[in-house]
Amino acid sequence: MPITHSFDYQKPGTLREALALLARKNAVALAGGTDLIGYLKEELVSPELLVDLKGLKELKRIEHRGGALHIGALVTFAEVIDSKVIGKKLPVLAEISKKVASVGIRNRATLVGNLCSAVPCLDTGPILVAMDALVLVKGKKGSRKIPAEKWFIAPRKTARKPGELVTGISIPLPRGKAAACYLKLGRYRGEDLAQASVFVSIEQSSRGAKARNFRVAFGSVGPVPCRARKIEKALAAGGALIDMVALTKLVPAEISPISDIRASKEYRLHMCQVMLERALAAADGRLNGTGPAYGASLL
């Protein structure tokens, strides 16, 4: 299916130039294009101007500074997987990235593009809302930092305003010893969209040797990624004696799955309970140095 709508194409060399072009009526930013070009074919978007960001070197960086990981808007999933600093500081992000589509897509698709498309099944949603990531946005009028939980508004709808550009994301890193796990349920192994997904992070707290903080979020079981605060609280209160049966009973209150072509809502709910338990066990094991390697197949 060719793209029948015609548009102009510009590839600016500076961020300033890019923002000026994006301020024009009906201008759309192009990074990896793996979603956008599909949308152009389906006429979901009909821009007058495509602004290719790939000439902006400052958006290609992955940096660890100020206790956070900064990932620029042009960083692809393949680059996340290969990044040494991510492998050391936040290996679960590589685990997530390996679950996205296929190699040929990951070589092109960007992490920031994933959260800009904001489909309910996005793989990067749960970690971003759970870790209190900030979406870094620039417009002609200045910069904004939008908490991930406020970024996702509805399927394919984000807090970005017309003319604004997402330049990157900033993920605060755990201060203490921490481990995490991302589980994604698909219909088969290999390239598929998530039927349901769960992200769990456990961090040793400064409050005491046995005190731990938990972060939990689900994906693909609501219009936007769901942070599971009731579950987090129950986990933090439970210490080492967590009643799994009681804990999984909290799951229905945290998510709102629907039935669609990929799964029924009953199956999604059930599997969220199963996956929560497994992800907690894996993250706990990783924290103690006995868990499965990041990226291992756990479903």
């Binding site: 793209i3 194409y9 294009g33 040929g104």
Partner: protein, 169 residues
Amino acid sequence: MGDGDRVKKTIRFVLNGEKRAVDVAPQETLLETLRERLGVKSPKCGCDRGDCGTCTVMIDGRSVRSCLVLGVEVDGAVVTTLEGIMENGELSPLQQAFLDRNSFQCGFCAPGMIMSATELLARNEKPTREEVQEGLAGNLCRCTGYSPIIDAVLETAGVVSKGGSDERS
């Protein structure tokens, strides 16, 4: 390939080792540029949405779905298609292994499979069967002949013997 009413752009890039310059409409995909303007026919249009892999080519050594890339985006890049991976006029060892093992049936997926496997072996000389499966995921063979394809990749890497398989071992 709708040329529309917009101004075409001249792109210059290296295609299979040769410098090329071509005028493209901003809305045409790299797949259209390659097939319809430059006569390079190995990348095929299957699903046209990045799910099937038969349009796979390499940009700067990394496999991409050419149906999800615009022609204008490869200005200044090095693009390689199946036509460009023969070595001094000879089939590459991977191509030879595909041939020896009858790894294609209808052949429609073969260019994408070979491009993806070429990238995999360049980055991982001794992949496991699971790594080959992961590397080829997103390349669909509708004849469902995956085993001989995976075996050809493993044979090229020296992981299984010529004509052999580790599948049930």
